[in-house]
Structure formats: structure tokens, C-alpha cells
């Protein structure tokens, strides 16, 4: 009886397990293996020797990789906290306009169902130096046009444009999660706070945020992971060749991986890509663990 059930359970799990094995576990293990080859050529399947640290040494010295890491960290470090704060405020505000809530929820959710590349292209036009709506609006306040994305755009300008796109793109899902989270908070806490003469800001800070803290942790971990994988937004805004106003000026770790993967005909390049992706894997793991540990005291389940 026991055995039969076991077999059946495995059978039910099989479709997912097989797919995961083929497309997740095998590539993951293979990436580790490939990253240990020196001078590997996938087409001929030959490598000079096995050296676990060689490829890591090469890319850690590569200035382009350093740039990719810095860019990725800026994107994650700025976009995650800002988008969480914004989405929290929007979710709380939505709660106080019950009649228009559905309407605004739909509006805020639209970016989620829209292709990131398409959004990037729309933003590219909005940030256009001469015809873009952003510069038009800035003009109303007497600010001269900013070169956001053009060939001579400053690093700060391109990064701000990219960050605005990333933040806006990430809002939808967070607002959705926070609005449903808010609905699960017992209304009596707010009545109690009212009786206790708490101001709106106090209520937000001392009641809403702590009671949402498990969700905030969840969202911050998933969005840090998402931000570390940034690639689509760069391609949407700058195209997949240039990856920035100047060549590679907005390159991210994932973009770096793509570039070297595409160079698989060159000796050893695919191993560099594998090593970079493994570094990203460890960065993600370490940050996620740190977040969980650090927040342990501040999250109230």
C-alpha cells in the first residue's frame, strides 16, 4: 500500500520534476562545471584544463564586469527601497478612497501586464532630449532640457532614467500585494488607534508598517532578487547592442553574462559567462540570507 502510493506520488510530480531537471538543475550544475574549464570551446567540446578559480580570477579583474556589478548594485540599492516605500504609500492612500480604488488599482496594475521591452521603448521616447514629455514638463519649471539617453548623456542622467523605469515597472506587483495585505489587517486596530489619538503618520509608522512587516520582507527579498537580474529594462531603454547611452555604460551582471555567452565561438568565453552567473548566484544568496537575518527582529508575524 505504502509503496504503491509512493509510486503514484512520484508519477504526479514527474512532469514538473522532469522539466525542472532539464531546464533548471542540469543548467545550474553545468554552469558550475563549465565555470571550472580553462580555454573551453563548446563547439568542439574541448578544454585546456580544469581550474576552479581561473575564470573567476579573469572576470573579477575585468573592468566591464566591475562596471556591471556597480550598475546592478545601484539599481537594486535605489529601486528596491524607493519602490517599496512608494507602493506602500500608494496602497495606503488607495484604502482611503474606497470608491475609486478599483479604478486606480487597474491603472497601477497595467505595467505588470505590459511587456518590459515595450515599456522601455515608451520610456525611451518619453526621455528623448528634444521630443520627450519629461523635458517638456521640466521646461515648465524653467529647467533646460536634459540629455537623458543621447550619445553624450551623463552617467547620472542615464542611471536616473533607468531607475525611474525600474521603480515604476516594479510598483504594480508591490501595490497589489500591499493592498491585499492591508485588507487583512483588522479594522479594529485602526479604530483603537483613533481612540488612542494616534496621528495618521503614527498609525502608518507604528501600526500599518509593523503589521505588514512579513509582507514587506517578502517583497523586499523578491524585488532585490528581481533587481539583481536587471536586464530587460536596459535593453528596452537602450537596445541590446549598446546597453547604455555610451557602449555598455548601463551594463548589468546579467547583460554581461549574455554578452559573453553570445561569444561562445571564442575560446573560454562561455566559461567567463558561467563564472559571472555563479557570482550573481552567490551575491543573491548572501543578500537574501542577510535580509532574513537582519529583519528577524523587526518582522512581527
Amino acid at each position: 500500500m505504502e509503496k504503491k502510493n509512493n509510486l503514484r506520488a512520484w508519477l504526479y510530480l514527474a512532469p514538473l520534476l522532469i522539466l525542472m531537471a532539464v531546464f533548471t538543475f542540469y543548467p545550474l550544475i553545468n554552469a558550475f562545471i563549465v565555470s571550472s574549464y580553462k580555454g573551453y570551446l563548446p563547439l568542439s567540446g574541448t578544454a585546456d584544463e580544469i581550474d576552479f578559480f581561473y575564470n573567476f580570477g579573469v572576470i573579477l579583474k575585468n573592468p566591464l564586469f566591475k562596471k556591471a556589478v556597480i550598475n546592478t548594485f545601484i539599481i537594486a540599492g535605489v529601486s528596491v527601497p524607493v519602490s517599496i516605500l512608494l507602493s506602500l504609500l500608494i496602497a495606503v492612500s488607495l484604502k482611503s478612497i474606497p470608491k475609486l480604488k478599483g479604478f486606480f488599482q487597474t491603472i497601477y496594475f497595467l505595467p505588470y501586464v505590459t511587456n518590459t521591452i515595450a515599456i522601455g521603448m515608451a520610456f525611451a521616447f518619453m526621455f528623448h532630449e528634444d521630443y520627450g514629455v519629461i523635458n517638456l514638463i521640466l521646461g515648465w519649471f524653467g529647467i533646460s532640457p536634459v540629455n537623458w539617453l543621447g550619445g553624450t548623456a551623463s552617467y547620472a542622467a542615464q542611471m536616473i532614467a533607468l531607475l525611474i523605469l525600474t521603480i515604476w515597472n516594479g510598483l504594480a506587483f508591490k501595490i497589489l500585494v500591499f493592498t491585499s495585505g492591508l485588507e487583512n489587517i483588522d479594522k479594529q486596530y485602526y479604530d483603537a488607534a483613533k481612540i488612542d489619538s494616534a496621528s495618521k503618520w503614527t498609525v502608518f509608522k507604528r501600526i500599518t508598517v509593523p503589521l505588514l512587516s512579513p509582507l514587506i520582507l517578502y517583497i523586499s527579498i523578491t524585488s532585490v532578487i528581481g533587481a539583481l537580474k536587471a536586464y530587460n529594462s536596459v535593453v528596452g531603454l537602450f537596445g541590446d547592442v549598446k546597453l547604455g547611452a555610451q557602449n555598455n555604460s548601463m551594463i548589468t551582471i546579467v547583460a554581461f553574462v549574455y554578452q559573453y555567452k553570445d561569444g561562445y565561438t571564442d575560446k573560454g568565453y562561455i566559461s567567463y559567462a558561467a563564472a559571472a552567473s555563479i557570482i550573481l548566484f552567490f551575491i543573491t544568496a548572501v543578500i537574501s540570507i542577510l535580509q532574513t537575518v537582519v529583519s528577524k527582529k523587526r518582522v512581527h508575524y
Binding site: D191, K194, D196, P210
Partner: protein, 359 residues
């Protein structure tokens, strides 16, 4: 602080667009320093009345006065009230200390003073050892006391309690009941509490207010309301076991139940409801009284014996059968099947007209 309600009305619009009068033209004066129990079945508007006093709901019509001051335009935080919610609504992420401190912080009370008051309050409710615990580490009764401490720490003018005992088990309920009474006596704060449990209301209130369908049925000292109900609803709602209600009539100034004589009243001939408290029956050992019946069931619990009987009734369905209860001294040896003759204590018998109004 005396609370006065004048013509207070709250109308809710239900989903099918019907008006529901949760509180219907209520006039009520709650005397200063007293503990008042708002009592009624669920849906009678007692909680709504409480929330109207608190300001968490806005009345459709009428006024609420705290002393001379009209409060309708005053938001809850400015009314100077303490409110204990039915499920306490303690902030789960704050310790007991933080929970009690919270209102003081919002009122910008000076830090040392706030600390002192928090500790005093914790002491009053007997929780000074528990200050650093989270609410979920406390028992229901302790949580309840934290909620009371949080409500009292800002020295409100009025303390409101919404079904304060309903989430406690029977033993804790008795204990907490005494506790609330003690705290109210010590602080002398005007207190209104809502309950559907008549025993609870009668045991701790200085006065009770019985409500039904948003309308006040009767107000007065518990024993007085019990002894002199103004209508059948109040008579039925107070007392456990419930009052026995017989269909009877008045003929030639004699009160008759199924043509058995039970007493005299100077009233015109009419059909009446005759309410008799279970403790109002006296066994007539000489069998002279004409009021008699066959005992169906005898329950002896401790010092009391309860006789359960039904009148000669044609209905076959046992659930439809109207049964009556008489509590007598356990000294009498009565078995099921015995025919017993009774006299009725006049002060325990209440006559109501067919509309349920006292005669």
C-alpha cells in the same frame, strides 16, 4: 461625566437598500460615576449605541452630550473616552508596556510621567510583572486587563466596554467581572458596558438598560428591573431559568390559567399573558389550591429542585411543547408523574396584555 443622549438615531442602509434603524430615537441619561450595563439580544443596537458614544460611528439624528458639551462634531480622539474592544484589539507587535504607553505617546505626555502612569495602571490591573510580554503570550483574561489599562491610562472621562467578557471562559469571566467592578469603583469613572448576557449585566452594573430593536425597553437598577419589568420582553430577557409565560385570562377579576384560579386582580375581562418567575411557585402541601399539574421531569442540582412540566396540550411534536419550570426547595420529595398543587407568590407574578405591556 454624565452622558446624555437625546433622540439618538442611527440608520444603516443595508445591501438591498433597506433602512435599518439600529438605534431608534433613544433618550438616555447615564449618571456620572456609575457602571451601566447596556443589555439586549444580538442586533438590538447596543454596540451601535456604544460606538456612537465613542464617535467611531456618526449618528443619523440626535445629540450626545458629555456633561453640557455636545459631542456630535467631536472626533473620537478628542472625546476623552477609553474603549475596550470585544476582541481587545491589542497591537500584537507591541509589548504590554508599549500598548499601554501608546495613547500617552500620542497625547505627548512627558516621558517620565508616562512611564509612571503606565506602571501605575499595570499595577491597578495586576500586570506589573507582565510589562515586557507580547499580547499573544498572555491569557485571555490578562489581555483583557491590558486592554482596560490601555483605555484607562489616559484618564478618560468615560470608559466604554464592548462585550468585555464574551471571549473568556466561564471561570475567567467571573473573575474578570469582579475585576471590572473593582477597577470601576477605584477609579470612579463613568463606565458603559455592552453585553448580551443578562447575568453578567445584573451582577456588576449599578443600573442596566435593556434594549431591543434599537429601542430602550427599560432602565433601572438590576433588581428593580427584574422585579418590575415593564413588558414581556424584559421579563423574558432577565432571569435564568427564564420566566414562565402562561396563556391566561381575567374573568370576573379572577386570574385564570386553563380555568384554574391563580389569583385576583381588579382588571376588566381580557386575555392575558401571565409571567411567573420559576422561584415564584409555592407547593401547596394540603392540595387546596386549584392550580395543579403533573410533573414531567425532576432535576435536583444542589439545594434546588427544578420541576419541569407542560400544560395539557394537544401538540404531538415534542419540540413544540411549551414547558414550564418551577424551582423549589430540594427538601420536597417529588417524583416525575406526581400531581402537584401550587400557590403563586403575588410579587413573582406579572400580568401582560396581549401586546406584552405590563398591566
Amino acid at each position: 461625566m454624565e452622558i446624555k443622549m437625546a433622540n439618538l438615531t442611527k440608520i444603516f442602509i443595508s445591501k438591498d437598500k433597506k433602512e435599518v434603524h439600529a438605534v431608534d430615537h433613544v433618550d438616555l441619561v447615564i449618571p456620572s460615576g456609575k457602571l451601566i450595563g447596556l443589555l439586549g439580544p444580538s442586533g438590538c443596537g447596543k454596540s451601535t449605541t456604544l460606538y456612537l458614544i465613542a464617535g467611531l460611528l456618526r449618528q443619523t439624528e440626535g445629540e450626545i452630550y458629555f456633561g453640557e458639551e455636545e459631542m456630535s462634531e467631536t472626533p473620537p480622539e478628542k472625546r476623552g473616552i477609553g474603549l475596550v474592544f470585544q476582541n481587545y484589539a491589542l497591537y500584537p507587535h507591541m509589548t504590554v508596556r508599549e500598548n499601554i504607553l501608546f495613547p500617552l505617546e500620542n497625547l505627548k505626555v512627558e516621558k517620565e510621567e508616562a512611564k509612571k502612569r503606565t506602571f501605575e495602571m499595570a499595577k491597578l490591573v495586576g500586570l506589573e510583572e507582565m510589562l515586557d510580554r507580547k499580547p499573544k503570550e498572555l491569557s485571555g483574561g490578562q489581555q483583557q486587563r491590558v486592554a482596560i489599562a490601555r483605555a484607562l491610562v489616559k484618564t478618560p472621562r468615560v470608559l466604554l466596554l464592548d462585550e468585555p467578557l464574551s471571549n473568556l471562559d466561564a471561570r475567567l469571566r467571573l473573575q474578570t467581572r469582579e475585576e471590572i467592578k473593582r477597577i470601576q469603583r477605584e477609579t470612579k469613572i463613568t463606565t458603559v458596558f455592552v453585553t448580551h448576557d443578562q447575568e453578567e449585566a445584573m451582577s456588576i452594573s449599578d443600573e442596566i438598560v435593556v434594549m431591543k430593536d434599537g429601542i430602550i425597553q427599560q432602565m433601572g437598577e438590576p433588581q428593580e428591573v427584574y422585579d418590575k419589568p415593564t413588558n414581556l420582553f424584559v421579563a423574558k430577557f432577565l432571569g435564568n431559568p427564564q420566566i414562565n409565560v402562561f396563556d391566561g385570562e381575567i374573568k370576573n377579576k379572577e386570574i385564570l390559567i386553563e380555568n384554574m384560579f391563580v389569583g385576583k386582580r381588579d382588571l376588566p375581562d381580557q386575555k392575558v399573558f401571565i409571567g411567573v418567575r420559576p422561584e415564584g411557585f409555592i407547593i401547596d402541601q394540603e392540595n387546596k389550591s386549584s392550580f395543579h399539574f403533573k410533573v414531567d421531569l425532576v432535576e435536583t442540582i444542589g439545594r434546588d429542585t427544578t420541576l419541569i412540566f407542560d400544560m395539557q396540550d394537544d401538540s404531538i411534536n415534542i419540540l413544540d411543547k411549551k414547558t414550564f419550570k418551577a424551582i423549589i426547595d430540594a427538601g420536597f420529595r417529588i417524583k416525575a408523574g406526581d400531581v402537584v398543587h401550587f400557590n403563586i407568590k403575588p410579587e413573582k407574578m406579572h400580568l401582560f396584555d396581549i401586546n406584552g405591556t405590563i398591566l
